[in-house]
Amino acid sequence: MDLVLQLLFTGIGIGAVYALVALGFVLIFRATNVVNFAQGEFSMVAAYLMVVCVELGLPYWLSFVIALAGMALLGVIFNLGVYYPLRHRTYLPVIIATIGASILLSNSVLAIYGPQPQVLQGWFDTPGIQLGPVYLDSQYLLIIGVTIFLVLFNFWFFEKTLLGKKLQATSQDKEMASLLGISVSTMIMITFIYSAVLGGLAGILVAPVLFVSIQMGSTIALKAFAATIIGGFGDVAGAIVGGLALGVIETFGAAYISVPYKDGFAFLVLIAFLVFRPQGIFGERVAEKA
């Protein structure tokens, strides 16, 4: 029982990272009808930004702020350079452009930093606390805390603010939104900035748990992409639930079945969903696309 609780904690912690990246996927998909294959590289770039700032001797919190500001800027550049010039084309050129951008980002970091993985220390000096039978790692606590905050923020932002409603309107019918005077290009810009920051946060938070490497982005993104399918593609709640479920499943799979096949469990679950419930846990809300 103790082990189960311990695994559940770790699983939710890592699942929260997948959830954040998956949320970025979903928000961009809803706004532009395109899957952003560079979403994982957002996490990787943010982690490296963090490493650079910390190595320069900046305080951890300041590095954090700078890294997130850098991600917001990357969101702007990504929107203007990758999405905007192709916005009137079909989804295919845009998807290919995001793949191109992801290759550019990872190879740029490779050229600057080399292939050896970097280590980023955690936010807290204390490694964790013992709560009864369960050891709560401080970094996982931080990840879970930030994710809970962001899920609440996301709900408030999209459901309770006029700007959130304008973003939803834009994702549902761009032409109609523009007829009402909603600046569609601004709404999409905001979506890219928000998604880049979400992906960046995930990267920064998970960096002390994993190594900071060029490949970390694609690993996280693959899991997050699986999470969006498991949760129900295009569904915000589905991305969060799918991410958490995936984290828990692979942690338990690693503990009880096989450690080397840890990454495989995520995709086993994905295949099972694609075969038996392709619409995901929450199903696709078809009506919204009518």
């Binding site: 007829l179 009402l180 909603i182 009506a287």
Partner: protein, 242 residues
């Protein structure tokens, strides 16, 4: 000076010439109805006015200034609100949210917009009880009410209404047209209709479009009076009306 003046408007979609030199004028305070068969260019005319379709040549003057070539976001800020064909109510937003977003062209606070949206239900009492219901659950008539209410939230000087009667039961059509006759007290309206009888019943002036050209224009009585043309363009209603 007319509030809206369209001169020699040509709109091409690739090889297809949807409008081939349309000239119409809408005076302040009027309701003007554009009639014509499917594909005659009625919706394209409205889309060109609101900036959704780019004019190939010709000019569109609103309040004395050319708006041809401006984008839809800029045009709605000038006070032209377009309620497009098919209602286009946001399916994943509630009725009230849809109506509130109609004020996106104006700089007003969210609480002010919320109050105005509540006041809008006085004009549309039938949808008041659906205020918190998602758009996709509504019936055609309800969607049309929401679409018009949303269009009015822009506080337009000119309201473009595209086929408000399309696909609605006769009793609902009458309700929609009652609202149009109420709107006209404050707002100039350019109405596109296939239902000539209803379209002309509220109009001060009518135009008939045929394959991208205006072939006839005049007061509703004159249009009905012209036997040959009434029979050809306005359908069998002409005789029953006379």
């Amino acid at each position: 000076m007319p509030l809206l003046e369209i001169r020699n408007l040509v709109v091409r979609y690739g090889e297809i010439e949807a409008l081939r030199g349309v000239t119409i004028a809408v005076e302040q305070g009027q309701v003007v109805t554009l009639l014509g068969a499917n594909g005659a260019g009625k919706s394209t005319t409205l889309r060109a006015i609101s900036g959704l379709a780019k004019p190939t040549s010709g000019d569109i003057m609103f309040d004395g200034h050319s708006i041809a070539g401006l984008g839809p976001e800029a045009i709605v800020r000038l006070g032209i609100s377009h309620v497009p064909e098919g209602r286009r109510v946001f399916p994943g937003l509630t009725v009230k949210e849809n109506i509130m977003l109609g004020a996106s062209n104006r700089k007003v606070s969210a609480s002010q917009i919320s109050r105005e949206a509540d006041a809008m239900f006085d004009l549309f009492p039938d949808i008041r009880s659906f205020s918190n219901v998602l758009g996709w659950t509504l019936s055609g008539g309800q969607l049309q009410m929401v679409a018009v209410a949303r269009g009015l939230m822009a506080k337009p000087r000119l309201l473009l209404l595209d086929e408000p009667s399309l696909g609605l039961a006769p009793v609902i059509v009458q309700a929609v047209f009652r609202i149009i006759s109420q709107i006209r007290k404050d707002t100039t309206v350019l109405l596109v209709e296939q239902n000539a009888r209803m379209g002309l019943s509220v109009a001060d002036h009518g135009f008939v479009l045929e394959t991208g050209r205006i072939v006839l224009g005049g007061k509703p009585d004159e249009l009905w009076g012209n036997e040959a043309i009434a029979a050809a363009y306005l359908g069998g209603h002409a005789k029953t009306h006379a």
